[in-house]
Symmetry: C2
Subunit: 843 residues, 2 copies
């Protein structure tokens, strides 16, 4: 800070090396250290003209740990030191008596608790007893003389618990405080945390000691906080609060209402001018909007704290753009200033005032898909569609969702599920649509038969209003006011800079012509994943046809059903090709286990529906359904295992793609189809499907007397595919990492079941992130890098991308860019986020 | 063969290079090749004193493909050439008229079919018509003149189908046959097979042309087959059959009953003596027991074929031991002579005469656990136990088995399941016990309610007798006679040589004191995997206690149930430590998903049983059971995820191990416990469990005032664990590869569901082996090698083993030995097989 000449209260830092010597020295201060501390202290005293333990010119110190990383068990309190009876009497004269004694009793409590290991409850008892005897309910109702009494009660606690007096010598206080910080490095919780998390090579914690300054020394003193620009809008104007004759905690305690900065300008114009100048210096130095705390002590301005200011998405973009316009930073720096989460905010509706409703939260689930939603509760997909058709906003509440629910999910304003993680069906589909979703809310119990939600003692009925915050996972009763997505002209400017800088392409996961259009509007450079299975749920006829297909026992029966599906697929592909004119469309062949297409419900319902739809006998239906059921469907009969076992399936899909492509090509649309074979684990699987696809291409081309160019590639989502990437690349023109499945198999985590232990793992520090949300760079990332390296060695021009959920997660996108991928593909609503993340790596 | 001077009919080979030139030459013989063939042919003619196309001294040739590997679509027939009307008339005079015309019409059929692409059915029609007109049912009932008629009919087929005459010139026949062999290299099926299987670098197929000799030239001719030793017992005595004035096919056709070799000794003593001498030469040359085909033509002996003789396990061991005693080979070579499968045969009961019952096979499943079993059919584990208690032999028939069935499975003589693969629960448990099991028999349908098995039109009822061949998967109605395991003194000698030579240690997977004893008797050098979960099913009290544990909602409830389980676990561990006195015992902490301990049946049954057993209300039970259910249990809440979420579980198990170890140590038993943490995917998980185990050890040691040494290590079964093996090795004293789960996750195959596509993959050549049976060296093996290398780099003295099903599979054991593992662990009954496989790698 010295560099830019701001007035910061001076202090000293005791190094981590000292902590190491402390440990080696049997948990005693190493020889000479205390003397060094005293020496540094004397310099401080001289600087400040105030002295430790001197009642008339008292020096107070704040002590805190300076550990390099925060970890459970480490001391993270700020201890204010230097008080005793004499000093407090002196302070009481200079500042305010009540303030002096309140500081004193707080100090006794905290010092006792943190340094002397006296339970906080022992002090609390005394406080409560006094409040009871005075018949007051708030601490602030106690007078200075009450607090004086409390101070002597607190001192008695020291005698009772420790059998010794509270140390009145401030130097002894300092000594003990330093020991307490050093000791906390070896607290059992901190040690265990470092062991579990393999935190090594750190010597210990530093100790920061700093002089305190006072804003409550009369009307020439004061304290304030400010942002250098408006953190909600980004407007270039100081935004802050100020209190005359007050300490920072007075603002927090809410006893006095802070005034705006104009008050300061009027009362202490010199200090104000210096503050304005300092703000400008700090913005120019840090090249960012700053959040500042300051105190004026007897007309002298002290800068207490200065950090990057938190801001809304709207403000972040405006500030970044303004900084460039003001010549403070260049475009590269502006790109780094905006967090991907800021962009996300701008793309979804939000609650008007999220801080106002905290008390109304009745349960919290996982923040599965951001944004806010308000609607009436329904319990089935059918009801959601029916109510939506009547113009009502609904929240679809399900224990978990399945592909059958997609119609209702689409109709709903928001989705709430009791089960399932961040990448459950509900979460993935909702994020794909940019629709608000709270998943895996284990606090709620849903009864579909009674149509109620039970949350503790509360019962929510069908039709009741519910508000969901998909960005936080919060669930609220009733209707919360909503604010629409706030897009502004600055965002357009900013995103154009972003696109100029990034090398990584950003594509989108989109399954319908509508999704494709959204993706394109959000700047997608193609479709990286078009899941063909979702198309089959789009209408009753389609569901009937796909069920006929999965129920088929012979290839002939299957072929009849496939012939029914062909025109649906073809027309969907035509729509998608049209929407993506000139951009690549990567189509994945059928992937999910076939039983996902079965009706929902108990076995009787399923059988009766299927006998009706397929014309099979009950016995036949039961036997076939039985054959479709699986113990671990995730690892079962799905992906290319379907297309290899039933080649007619791949043939139908390939035919639909090629016929659609040629028909669009004839209409002047530029089609770039890329066919993707899912769940490949052996080169032989891919070889089989590739030759089948080429065969169908030749047939269609010759029948239609036309030709278009296309690519065939594969998902890399099975660990074995990554391990054999060189052999697989011989058959593949592109790789697309399916990091959802790759994460499932690399960790051995079912994303549908991970909710049983993942929260425990996160709370114990065994994992630092949900690996389905943030790519596991060490494990899954190792396979990704390995596969790229092997794949490109075998086929130098191999195109490599990723289409898992991680394609829209900023830190993962950064990893992919550095690993040398050509593109990421994510849900249309995350495309702008991925664009920004990709640019941030490049600049 | 020239080297040892035996008389083999001469021939010529056309090289693979010629095939390549043929392809490059537009599928025509390359210039000069035909001339070369003719030249070689002339030498042959001179050697044999017989000429192609010469009726009085005819030369017949056999032509076949000499492809380096056999593949679908390649020609694999032997074509006999050189016949036409004139030649056949000559032959008819010399040998036998019927033989001559039968050979001719067979040649016309096969040549037409293989070389001229005339459908075999066209010839078959003519044959059937003739048989109908003669009112005979067997081909052998046709006379020489009938066959003459047939020959002319067959020749008409050529004209009808191809519009050209059958080529009477034997040189043209040869030319066309060579082209046909070359062409088959490029047949669509062969091309596709090579493409799918990445078969590269081969030029083409060679063509073998060889002179034919005749055993039917009167009483100075004959033909025979022999083994140089008895292939059933290994006895050192020629074992064979002989026919005077006959060709090889006469033996196969079964028209005449072959006589023994003494006949030959009497009729043609010189040829016999030469044969005896040749057999001795061949045994000494090949250092093996040989299977020989020979023909005597006019007193001259021709050796037609010679290959290693197939033999039973008993014979294999005796021959290997005798060869050493006779000084023919050394011990190393004898170890290579016995196949691991041979040892397996000796350890299980077999059907007395497997070749006799072939007609009685009603269905075939997977050969899940070898040996044979005969018993009466029961449909529930309870019935199996009850019937067994009455002294009856039962076959337990289940759709699939679960851990609840183990009592009944143990009581049964054999197990048959309709579902599940080679590593399904039934298969794994049965192999562990050396009990016969046929799994995944999809031909059968089981109705538990009616207590019947339906196989096509057959219905088998409870109590009916069934015979199972677990080595072949065959299922037979009724009682087949059994032969007990045939152990002999030679086996002991042989296994002692094996143990002298191998470096790899062989341990066993054993869960009970009884299993441990069996393992030790079979030569196990310790227990590599003791699965603690099986102990919980050993009695009703234990099942009740474990159910109480899994139903517990609070840690307190769980602790009460764990306190009940502790004494059971402790006493089991004591028994196992005692049985393995002086050898290491590796105990795996609880691994399976908790719902595996739930009762079977539909939800009503489960709930009523659990309310009874736990005293919980129905609602509580339903809610808890609901929480336990999982979409993909294999990837769910199991392994160390249990012990981390419920540390009290690991604490109980560790306590049981340490208390048992100290109590046995006090009784003078040498205990070497090794505690294994399952399903670790992050170093943090292992760190957490290791420190918990050390803490319990310290507590038990201090409470019991004793100390024993122990190791803590981990399973490597999650791909991520292999990828992070270095970090994991910092916490682990040993690694044990769980190749079952590692295979599941590396391939993304659920071993319970793989039956849906694995048979198709095997039949299409997409996989060459079931990866759960034979280790996938390319994928899973790559992870194994990678993890060993990384693990040992971080901890040079890391002990590394494997305890998956592959530990008893010979080719996998060989891989593990070469990869540098310290030990393999397999089921007690496979220990001798693994010992042999390990020795075979070493020698």
């Amino acid at each position: 800070m010295a560099r830019i000449g701001l007035s910061v209260p001076p202090g000293l830092t005791i190094s981590t090396e000292a902590c190491q010597e402390f440990q080696e020295n049997g948990h005693k201060l190493p020889p000479g250290l205390w003397e060094e501390i005293i020496e540094a202290l004397q310099v401080l005293e001289k600087d400040m003209g105030a002295y430790l333990g001197e009642p008339s010119r008292p020096l107070l110190l704040s002590v805190r740990s300076g550990a390099a990383i925060s970890m459970p068990g480490m001391m993270d309190t700020i201890l204010n030191l230097g008080l005793n009876d004499e000093v407090v009497s002196g302070l009481a004269l200079k500042c305010d008596e009540r303030f002096a004694y309140d500081s004193y009793r707080r100090f006794l409590d905290m010092f006792g608790n943190v340094v002397m290991e006296i339970p906080h409850a022992r002090f609390e008892e005394k406080l409560e007893a006094l409040k009871a005897s005075k018949a007051v309910s708030l601490d602030t109702e106690l007078s200075a003389s009450d607090l004086k009494v409390l101070v002597s009660e607190y001192k008695k606690v020291y005698l009772e618990v420790k059998g010794e007096e509270f140390p009145i010598d401030p130097k002894i206080q300092l000594h003990l405080a330093v020991l307490a910080v050093f000791d906390s490095w070896d607290s059992p919780r901190a040690v265990k945390y470092r062991s579990i998390n393999n935190v090594k090579g750190l010597k210990g914690t530093a100790v920061n000691v700093q002089c305190m300054v006072f804003g409550n020394m009369g009307n020439t003193s004061g304290t304030g906080v400010l942002f250098t620009r408006n953190p909600s809008t980004g407007e270039n104007k100081l935004y802050g609060e100020f209190l005359i004759n007050a300490q920072g905690e007075d603002v927090v305690a809410g006893i006095r209402t802070p005034e705006d900065l104009n008050t300061m300008k009027l009362c202490m114009p010199d200090a104000y001018d210096e503050l304005i100048e300092n703000c400008s210096i700090l913005e120019r130095h840090y090249k960012d909007m700053m959040d500042i705390e300051f105190t004026v002590q007897e007309n002298r301005l002290w800068m207490l704290q200065c950090r990057s200011g938190k801001r809304t998405g709207k403000a972040a973009v405006k500030i970044a753009v303004d900084f460039v316009k003001e010549g403070l930073i260049d475009v590269n720096s502006s790109i780094k200033m905006v967090e991907p989460g800021h962009i996300d905010q701008l793309l979804h509706p939000q609650f008007e005032n999220p801080s106002a409703y905290k008390g109304k939260v009745v349960a919290t689930g996982l923040p599965a898909s951001p944004g806010a939603a308000v609607g009436q509760v329904v319990f089935t997909a059918e009801d959601a569609e029916a109510w939506h058709a009547q113009g009502r906003n609904v929240i679809l509440v399900r224990t978990e969702t399945s592909p059958e629910d997609v119609g209702g999910m689409h109709a709903a304003a928001g989705i709430l599920t009791a089960r399932g993680g961040m990448t459950s069906h509900a979460a993935v589909v909702a994020r794909g649509w940019g629709k608000c979703c709270v998943s895996g809310c284990s606090d709620i119990r849903i009864s579909d038969s009674q149509k109620i939600i039970v949350i503790g003692e509360k019962v929510i009925h069908e039709g009741d209003w519910l508000s969901l915050n998909g960005s936080t996972g919060e669930i609220l009763m009733g209707k919360q006011p909503l604010a629409p997505p706030s897009l502004s002209g600055d965002l357009g400017t900013f995103m154009s800079w972003v696109d100029d800088k990034r090398q990584l392409k950003v594509m989108a996961n989109a399954d319908t012509p509508g999704d494709a259009q959204t993706a394109r509007n959000n700047g997608a450079q193609g479709i990286g994943l078009c899941r063909t299975e979702h198309m089959f749920f789009a209408s009753d006829e389609r569901i009937r046809a796909i069920r006929q297909m999965i129920m088929a026992v012979s290839p002939q029966q299957r072929q009849i059903a496939l012939d029914l599906l062909l025109p649906y697929q073809k027309s969907d592909f035509e729509g998608i090709f049209r929407a993506m004119d000139g951009l690549p469309v990567t189509i994945r062949l059928l992937d999910p286990p076939l039983h996902e297409f079965l009706p929902e419900g108990d076995i009787e319902d399923i059988v009766s529906e299927l006998t009706l739809q397929t014309g099979m006998s009950e016995d036949e239906v039961i036997s076939r359904v039985d054959k479709l059921s699986e113990v671990n469907p995730m690892l079962g009969f799905r992906g290319c295992r379907l297309g290899i076992s039933y080649p007619e399936l791949t043939e139908m899909q390939a035919r639909a793609i090629f016929e659609a492509a040629i028909s669009m090509d004839r209409q002047g649309v530029k089609v770039l189809p890329e066919i993707m074979v899912p769940l490949v684990g052996t080169p032989q699987e891919l070889g089989h499907q590739v030759s089948l696809i080429h065969k169908i291409a030749e047939k269609v081309f010759s029948a239609m007397n036309a030709e278009i160019s296309y690519k065939v590639g594969t998902m890399i989502e099975v660990p074995r595919a990554a391990l054999l990437a060189d052999e697989i690349a011989e058959h593949a023109e592109f790789f697309s990492f399916g990091t959802n499945d790759l994460t499932q198999m690399t960790f051995g985590y079912s994303r549908d079941d991970v909710g049983k232990f993942l929260p425990i793992y996160l709370s114990k520090g065994i994992l630092h992130n949900d690996p389905f949300e943030v790519l596991d760079q060490k494990g899954v990332g190792q396979l990704v890098k390995f596969a790229i390296e092997k794949g490109r060695r075998a086929r130098p021009n191999l195109k490599v991308g990723i289409c898992g959920e991680h394609g829209g997660e900023p830190s993962s996108v950064a990893f992919f860019a550095e690993a040398g991928l050509d593109y990421v593909s994510c849900s249309p609503f995350r495309v702008p986020i991925a664009r920004l993340a990709a640019a941030q790596v490049a600049v």
